[in-house]
Symmetry: C2
Protein backbone atom coordinates (compact mmCIF):
# COMPACT_ATOMS: atom_id res chain seq x y z
CA UNK A 1 0.00 0.00 0.00
CA UNK A 2 2.92 2.30 -0.18
CA UNK A 3 2.05 2.75 -3.79
CA UNK A 4 -1.24 4.33 -2.88
CA UNK A 5 0.79 6.81 -0.89
CA UNK A 6 2.51 7.94 -4.05
CA UNK A 7 -0.24 7.98 -6.59
CA UNK A 8 -2.96 9.19 -4.27
CA UNK A 9 -6.26 8.91 -5.98
CA UNK A 10 -9.37 11.02 -5.68
CA UNK A 11 -11.04 8.38 -3.60
CA UNK A 12 -10.75 9.41 0.04
CA UNK A 13 -11.59 5.96 1.30
CA UNK A 14 -8.75 4.40 -0.65
CA UNK A 15 -6.39 6.99 0.77
CA UNK A 16 -7.58 6.35 4.29
CA UNK A 17 -7.10 2.63 3.85
CA UNK A 18 -3.66 3.20 2.39
CA UNK A 19 -2.69 5.07 5.55
CA UNK A 20 -4.39 2.81 8.08
CA UNK A 21 -5.00 -0.57 6.52
CA UNK A 22 -2.05 -2.50 7.71
CA UNK A 23 -1.62 -5.06 10.37
CA UNK A 24 -0.62 -2.89 13.29
CA UNK A 25 -1.49 0.78 13.00
CA UNK A 26 -5.12 0.51 14.08
CA UNK A 27 -4.09 -1.62 17.03
CA UNK A 28 -1.43 0.90 18.01
CA UNK A 29 -4.02 3.66 17.86
CA UNK A 30 -6.55 1.99 20.11
CA UNK A 31 -3.83 0.95 22.52
CA UNK A 32 -2.57 4.50 22.97
CA UNK A 33 -6.03 5.99 23.36
CA UNK A 34 -6.22 9.45 24.93
CA UNK A 35 -3.07 9.27 26.96
CA UNK A 36 0.61 9.29 26.25
CA UNK A 37 2.47 6.02 26.30
CA UNK A 38 6.16 5.26 26.29
CA UNK A 39 7.70 3.14 23.60
CA UNK A 40 8.18 0.29 26.03
CA UNK A 41 4.61 0.52 27.25
CA UNK A 42 3.26 0.20 23.75
CA UNK A 43 5.54 -2.74 23.09
CA UNK A 44 4.42 -4.39 26.33
CA UNK A 45 0.76 -4.03 25.43
CA UNK A 46 1.24 -5.53 21.96
CA UNK A 47 3.67 -8.26 22.86
CA UNK A 48 3.52 -10.03 19.53
CA UNK A 49 4.74 -7.09 17.47
CA UNK A 50 8.42 -7.04 16.70
CA UNK A 51 10.58 -4.16 17.75
CA UNK A 52 11.46 -3.27 14.21
CA UNK A 53 7.91 -3.25 12.96
CA UNK A 54 6.79 -1.19 15.93
CA UNK A 55 9.37 1.52 15.33
CA UNK A 56 8.65 1.48 11.60
CA UNK A 57 4.95 1.97 12.21
CA UNK A 58 5.42 4.64 14.85
CA UNK A 59 7.70 6.59 12.52
CA UNK A 60 5.21 6.43 9.68
CA UNK A 61 2.39 7.45 11.96
CA UNK A 62 4.33 10.45 13.19
CA UNK A 63 5.08 11.36 9.57
CA UNK A 64 1.37 11.02 8.75
CA UNK A 65 0.38 13.30 11.59
CA UNK A 66 -1.36 10.60 13.58
CA UNK A 67 1.07 10.66 16.48
CA UNK A 68 3.47 12.99 18.21
CA UNK A 69 6.74 11.76 19.57
CA UNK A 70 8.28 13.47 22.57
CA UNK A 71 11.75 12.60 23.69
CA UNK A 72 12.73 13.45 27.25
CA UNK A 73 16.36 14.10 28.00
CA UNK A 74 16.45 11.73 30.87
CA UNK A 75 18.18 8.53 31.67
CA UNK A 76 17.52 6.00 30.62
CA UNK A 77 15.94 7.56 27.58
CA UNK A 78 12.23 8.20 27.78
CA UNK A 79 10.10 8.65 24.69
CA UNK A 80 6.38 9.25 24.81
CA UNK A 81 3.89 8.87 22.02
CA UNK A 82 0.50 10.56 21.96
CA UNK A 83 -2.29 10.68 19.41
CA UNK A 84 -2.82 13.94 17.60
CA UNK A 85 -6.29 15.37 17.05
CA UNK A 86 -6.30 13.49 13.77
CA UNK A 87 -5.43 10.25 15.49
CA UNK A 88 -7.94 10.75 18.27
CA UNK A 89 -10.65 11.27 15.66
CA UNK A 90 -10.16 7.66 14.65
CA UNK A 91 -10.97 6.21 18.06
CA UNK A 92 -14.78 6.29 17.70
CA UNK A 93 -14.53 4.94 14.16
CA UNK A 94 -12.40 2.03 15.28
CA UNK A 95 -14.85 1.40 18.10
CA UNK A 96 -17.57 0.98 15.52
CA UNK A 97 -15.39 -1.39 13.56
CA UNK A 98 -14.80 -3.45 16.68
CA UNK A 99 -18.53 -3.62 17.32
CA UNK A 100 -19.07 -4.63 13.74
CA UNK A 101 -16.52 -7.42 13.95
CA UNK A 102 -17.89 -8.63 17.25
CA UNK A 103 -21.42 -8.66 15.94
CA UNK A 104 -20.64 -10.51 12.74
CA UNK A 105 -18.15 -13.08 13.91
CA UNK A 106 -16.91 -15.10 10.98
CA UNK A 107 -16.13 -18.39 12.63
CA UNK A 108 -15.36 -20.35 9.51
CA UNK A 109 -18.34 -18.72 7.91
CA UNK A 110 -21.10 -20.23 9.90
CA UNK A 111 -24.49 -19.51 8.47
CA UNK A 112 -27.41 -18.60 10.63
CA UNK A 113 -29.46 -21.57 9.64
CA UNK A 114 -33.09 -20.84 9.98
CA UNK A 115 -34.50 -24.24 10.70
CA UNK A 116 -32.94 -25.64 13.85
CA UNK A 117 -34.93 -28.86 13.55
CA UNK A 118 -34.09 -32.15 11.99
Amino acid sequence: MKQAKLNRCRCPLANAIAALGNKWKPVIIIVIKNRSLRFGEIAARIRVISRKVLTDQLKEMVADGLLTRQEFKELPTRVEYRLTEKGIALLPIFSLLEEWETKFVTEGNMQMSISPGK
Copy 2:
Protein backbone atom coordinates in the same frame (compact mmCIF):
# COMPACT_ATOMS: atom_id res chain seq x y z
CA MET B 1 -2.75 -10.21 6.29
CA LYS B 2 -3.76 -13.69 5.33
CA GLN B 3 -1.84 -14.81 8.33
CA ALA B 4 -4.16 -12.96 10.64
CA LYS B 5 -6.94 -14.97 9.08
CA LEU B 6 -5.35 -18.15 10.36
CA ASN B 7 -4.19 -17.19 13.79
CA ARG B 8 -7.12 -14.97 14.62
CA CYS B 9 -6.40 -13.11 17.77
CA ARG B 10 -8.70 -11.98 20.50
CA CYS B 11 -8.50 -8.41 19.26
CA PRO B 12 -11.61 -7.75 17.20
CA LEU B 13 -10.11 -4.70 15.57
CA ALA B 14 -7.16 -6.68 14.29
CA ASN B 15 -9.52 -9.27 12.86
CA ALA B 16 -11.63 -6.61 11.18
CA ILE B 17 -8.55 -5.06 9.64
CA ALA B 18 -7.34 -8.47 8.51
CA ALA B 19 -10.60 -8.93 6.63
CA LEU B 20 -10.94 -5.43 5.25
CA GLY B 21 -7.58 -3.73 5.27
CA ASN B 22 -6.42 -4.31 1.76
CA LYS B 23 -6.24 -2.11 -1.22
CA TRP B 24 -9.59 -2.84 -2.85
CA LYS B 25 -12.21 -4.40 -0.59
CA PRO B 26 -13.41 -1.18 1.01
CA VAL B 27 -13.65 0.46 -2.39
CA ILE B 28 -15.63 -2.48 -3.74
CA ILE B 29 -18.00 -2.21 -0.81
CA ILE B 30 -18.77 1.46 -1.22
CA VAL B 31 -19.11 1.05 -4.97
CA ILE B 32 -21.74 -1.66 -4.63
CA LYS B 33 -23.71 0.18 -1.97
CA ASN B 34 -27.30 -0.99 -1.44
CA ARG B 35 -27.94 -2.34 -4.89
CA SER B 36 -26.80 -5.32 -6.85
CA LEU B 37 -24.10 -4.82 -9.45
CA ARG B 38 -22.88 -7.06 -12.19
CA PHE B 39 -19.26 -8.07 -12.38
CA GLY B 40 -18.73 -5.84 -15.39
CA GLU B 41 -20.35 -2.88 -13.68
CA ILE B 42 -18.05 -3.15 -10.72
CA ALA B 43 -15.06 -3.44 -13.02
CA ALA B 44 -16.24 -0.39 -14.99
CA ARG B 45 -16.57 1.70 -11.84
CA ILE B 46 -13.09 0.76 -10.60
CA ARG B 47 -11.28 0.91 -13.89
CA VAL B 48 -7.79 0.64 -12.42
CA ILE B 49 -8.33 -2.71 -10.75
CA SER B 50 -7.15 -5.72 -12.69
CA ARG B 51 -9.56 -8.48 -13.62
CA LYS B 52 -7.68 -11.06 -11.63
CA VAL B 53 -7.51 -9.01 -8.46
CA LEU B 54 -11.18 -8.12 -8.74
CA THR B 55 -12.28 -11.74 -8.98
CA ASP B 56 -9.90 -12.70 -6.17
CA GLN B 57 -11.34 -10.05 -3.90
CA LEU B 58 -14.94 -10.82 -4.78
CA LYS B 59 -14.38 -14.49 -4.02
CA GLU B 60 -12.83 -13.74 -0.66
CA MET B 61 -15.61 -11.35 0.19
CA VAL B 62 -18.24 -13.94 -0.65
CA ALA B 63 -16.34 -16.45 1.50
CA ASP B 64 -16.23 -13.91 4.33
CA GLY B 65 -19.95 -13.32 4.14
CA LEU B 66 -19.68 -9.74 2.95
CA LEU B 67 -21.18 -10.35 -0.47
CA THR B 68 -23.56 -12.71 -2.18
CA ARG B 69 -22.98 -13.84 -5.73
CA GLN B 70 -25.92 -14.70 -7.92
CA GLU B 71 -25.37 -16.28 -11.28
CA PHE B 72 -28.18 -16.03 -13.82
CA LYS B 73 -28.44 -18.73 -16.41
CA GLU B 74 -28.64 -16.28 -19.23
CA LEU B 75 -26.56 -15.43 -22.17
CA PRO B 76 -24.17 -13.94 -22.12
CA THR B 77 -23.51 -14.88 -18.53
CA ARG B 78 -24.84 -12.50 -15.94
CA VAL B 79 -23.50 -12.45 -12.41
CA GLU B 80 -24.71 -10.04 -9.79
CA TYR B 81 -23.06 -9.15 -6.53
CA ARG B 82 -24.87 -7.69 -3.58
CA LEU B 83 -23.78 -6.76 -0.07
CA THR B 84 -25.04 -8.94 2.74
CA GLU B 85 -26.35 -7.43 5.96
CA LYS B 86 -22.82 -7.69 7.26
CA GLY B 87 -21.46 -5.81 4.29
CA ILE B 88 -24.13 -3.16 4.42
CA ALA B 89 -23.29 -2.53 8.06
CA LEU B 90 -19.91 -1.28 6.91
CA LEU B 91 -21.28 1.49 4.72
CA PRO B 92 -21.82 4.05 7.51
CA ILE B 93 -18.44 3.21 9.03
CA PHE B 94 -16.69 3.76 5.72
CA SER B 95 -18.57 7.02 5.33
CA LEU B 96 -17.06 8.18 8.59
CA LEU B 97 -13.63 7.12 7.41
CA GLU B 98 -14.11 9.10 4.22
CA GLU B 99 -15.11 12.15 6.22
CA TRP B 100 -12.10 11.68 8.44
CA GLU B 101 -9.75 11.46 5.48
CA THR B 102 -11.32 14.48 3.82
CA LYS B 103 -11.09 16.53 6.98
CA PHE B 104 -7.47 15.71 7.72
CA VAL B 105 -5.95 15.80 4.27
CA THR B 106 -2.30 14.95 4.47
CA GLU B 107 -0.92 16.81 1.52
CA GLY B 108 2.71 16.12 2.20
CA ASN B 109 1.97 16.76 5.83
CA MET B 110 1.12 20.41 5.66
CA GLN B 111 0.72 21.98 9.05
CA MET B 112 -2.12 24.31 9.82
CA SER B 113 -0.02 27.32 10.43
CA ILE B 114 -1.74 29.64 12.80
CA SER B 115 -0.55 32.99 11.57
CA PRO B 116 -1.72 33.58 8.03
CA GLY B 117 1.12 36.02 7.52
CA LYS B 118 1.31 39.74 7.66
